[in-house]
Point group: C2
Chain length 345, copies 2
DNA sequence: CTGAAAGCGCTTACAG
DNA sequence: CTGAAAGCGCTTACAG
C-alpha cells in the first residue's frame, strides 16, 4: 500500500474504550493521567486493550482539548553552526522528560524567515518560543509585535544570548568575559594588540570588542588596529590578510590578535601562516567561543569558553517553570593556550 | 498578567467570520487555500478582518480536521555533533517553504530514547519520520515494529546514512569513498598504513574500514595495525598513543594513519605531536567526514568529504514527495591536504 | 458561490 | 467511581 496522506486509520481512544468495555471518558482518565483515578481492575482492562490495539494518543486532539500543545519552538540562525547546535542540545535537556517536543527552525539570519518561524510556532500553539542569537534592533518591529501578542495569549518567550526588553531569558556576559580575556593577555605580557571585530551590527560582536578594548584602555593600551569584517572564518582570513598587507602584522614584533569569535581566529591563523609569519612568535591569536577543535589546533588556540549547552539548558528549564521568565546572566571564562604564548616565555 | 498555561484567548476563525459578516466555512475557504474560491469582494472582507483581529489559524485544529499535521520529525544521535547538525540543516532546506515544521529529537544513541522519540512523533501524527545515523541491528526490534506500524498508518519513513530494510532513504557509500581515499594515498606513494577503526559495532565505522583495507589488499598492502577504539576525538587520541607506545609509529619511518572519522584524526594528531613525532614526516594522517575546521589545521588534514547537507536535503525532499520513498546512494570523495604529504615530496 | 452541519480525536466539568 | 455530553478550532462533503 503506497504511503498516502495522513494517518487516519490509527486506532482511537474510542476503539480502546470499546475493546475494554468502558466509556471513552474512563479510558482517557486511565491512559492520560487525570486527577480522577478509575478502579485498578478497570484501569488494567483499559491498559491491556490499549496495548493490544497499539493505541497512541493523538497529540493534536489532546492539544485542542487541553489547550496546551506540549510543544516548544526554538529559533536559531543556523543549526549547522556549533554555537547554535550546542544551545539546541542544551535546550532539549532543559525541556526534560516531560514529553515536550522541540520544534526547530533555522532562519539563516533572515528577519523575514524569523518572523515566519514565530508565526508558524504561534499557529502550532507552542507553549513557549525560544529565540537564540543576536539580531539587529532595526526591522524587528514586526517580530516584537508578534512576540508581544504571543505573550498576551499566554505564550512564554525566552531569549538566548541576547536580551530583549519584553522577555526574560539567559544571556551571556560577552563584555565581561572579553575583558577578563584582555586582562589575562595583559598579565602574560602582551602589549601590542590588533582586534578583528567582525560585524559590528551584531550586538554580540560589539559587546565582545567593547569589553576587550575597554579593558585594554584601562591599562593604558591602545590597539594598533580595530578592523570590521564578516563574522566568519573567511572574514577572519581576509581581514588578517589585510593587516599583514598593511604592515601591522610582521615578523619579529609579536602582535596579539583578538578575534571576536573562534572561526575568525582559525581563518586568521591560516592567513598569517600563508604569509610566512610564525604562530605565536610573530602573531599571537585569541578567539572567543571555545569551539570543539580548538585544543587540537597547532598551536592550540586561546579563547573564551562559554557554557553554550548550559545556557540552552537553563533556557529550556526556564520555560518549563511557572511564573514569569527570569533574566539570567552567565559568564564565560578565558582558556589560555599556546597561541598566545608571549615571545620569550 | 503572568504567563499561564496555554493559548486559549487567541482569536478564532469564528471571530474573523463574524467580523467579516460571513460563515466560518467561507472564512476558512478564503484564508486557507481551498479549491472553492469565494468572490473577491467577500474574500477581501475576510482578509481585512483576519488582519485586523490578528488571526492565526490553530494548526492543531487544522491537523485534526485535515488529518495531516504539517509536521516532520527528525531523530538524530546528537544535534551538537556537526555531522548531524549539517544533516539537520539540509533536511530543513529539503522540506522547503511549504510551511512544514520540523520536530527535532536528539537521543544520545540511547535505543530507549529513540523509541520514545518515534512514539512521540507518532503521537504528534507527523507526516514523516527521518532517522539519521547508524544504529546496531540488535535491540531495534521494537523500533522497527513501531516504524512499521507508523508506515501502515500512512506515515513516511526515510533513513539517513544507514539503510533499513523496510524504508527508503539516502545513504552514504562509506566503503566506496574509503576505497577511493586508499587509492589516492597509494598513488601518493604511501605503503605503510595503520588504521584506527573506531567502534566496529557501528556499521558506518565498519564500512569505512572495510573499504579502506580492502583497497589496500587489492594493491598487496597489509596495514601494520588495525585498532578499535571509541569513535571520538579521545578514542583517536588514546589509540594513537597506544600505537606510538607499541613502536608502530616512530620517527624516521613514515606511517600513514587512517582514522575512521575526522575527530579521531584530530586526537591522533595531538597525541602524535605530544610524543615528539613530526606531522606528516613521521606520521601522515587522514580522516573521514571533512568537518569544517580541517582546512585550517596545521598541517591541513586529508579526509573524505561527504555532502552531509545535501544528504539531508535529499531526504527532506524525498519525504515531501508522493510515491514510495526511494533509496538513494551518494558518494563522498577524497580531499587531499598536507597531512598526507609523502616524505620527500 | 455560500452556509448549516457533521466530524476530526480527545478532555473535562457536570450529573448520577 | 463512571458515563453522557459538550466543547476545543478547524474543514469539507452536502444542500441550497
Amino acid at each position: 500500500m503506497a504511503a498516502t496522506e495522513g494517518n487516519g486509520v490509527a486506532v482511537r481512544l474510542a476503539d480502546v474504550a470499546r475493546e475494554a468495555g468502558v466509556s471513552p471518558a474512563t479510558a482517557s482518565r486511565v491512559l492520560n493521567g487525570s486527577s480522577r483515578k478509575p478502579a485498578e481492575e478497570i484501569a488494567d482492562r483499559v491498559r491491556v486493550a490499549a496495548q493490544r490495539l497499539g493505541y497512541f494518543p493523538n497529540a493534536q486532539a489532546q492539544a485542542l482539548a487541553r489547550n496546551t500543545a506540549g510543544l516548544v519552538g526554538l529559533i536559531v540562525h543556523d543549526i549547522a553552526d556549533p554555537y547554535f547546535s550546542s544551545i539546541a542540545r542544551g535546550v532539549q535537556q532543559g525541556l526534560g522528560e516531560n514529553g515536550v517536543q522541540l520544534l526547530l527552525n533555522s532562519t539563516g539570519r533572515d528577519p523575514q524567515r524569523e518572523l515566519a518561524a514565530v508565526r508558524a510556532f504561534m499557529s502550532h500553539r507552542t507553549d513557549a518560543i525560544l529565540l537564540a542569537g543576536s539580531r539587529s534592533q532595526q526591522e524587528d518591529h514586526e517580530l516584537m509585535e508578534a512576540l508581544r501578542r504571543y505573550q498576551d495569549n499566554g505564550g512564554r518567550v525566552a531569549m538566548i544570548g541576547q536580551p530583549l526588553p519584553a522577555a526574560g531569558g539567559v544571556q551571556l556576559d560577552n563584555a565581561g568575559a572579553a575583558a577578563a580575556l584582555a586582562d589575562e593577555l595583559l598579565k602574560l605580557g602582551h602589549r601590542r594588540f590588533a582586534v578583528l571585530a567582525g560585524d559590528q551590527s551584531l550586538a554580540t560582536a560589539r559587546d565582545r570588542v567593547e569589553g576587550f578594548v575597554g579593558k585594554l584602555r584601562d591599562a593604558g593600551v591602545e590597539p594598533v588596529a580595530v578592523r570590521e569584517g564578516a563574522f566568519t572564518r573567511d572574514g577572519g582570513y581576509h581581514t588578517a590578510g589585510d593587516l599583514v598587507r598593511d604592515g601591522l602584522l610582521e615578523a619579529g614584533r609579536q602582535t596579539c590578535v583578538f578575534c571576536a569569535n573562534d572561526v575568525m581566529a582559525l581563518g586568521t591563523m591560516t592567513a598569517v601562516r600563508e604569509r610566512g609569519l610564525r604562530l605565536p612568535d610573530d602573531v599571537a591569536v585569541a578567539g572567543f567561543d571555545d569551539i570543539p577543535t580548538l585544543g587540537d589546533m597547532f598551536p592550540s588556540v586561546t579563547t573564551v569558553r562559554i557554557p553554550l549547552e548550559e545556557i540552552g539548558r537553563m533556557a529550556g528549564e526556564m520555560v518549563m517553570e511557572d511564573g514569569d521568565a527570569r533574566r539570567l546572566v552567565v559568564s564565560g571564562h578565558p582558556v589560555l593556550r599556546e597561541s598566545t604564548r608571549p615571545v620569550g616565555a
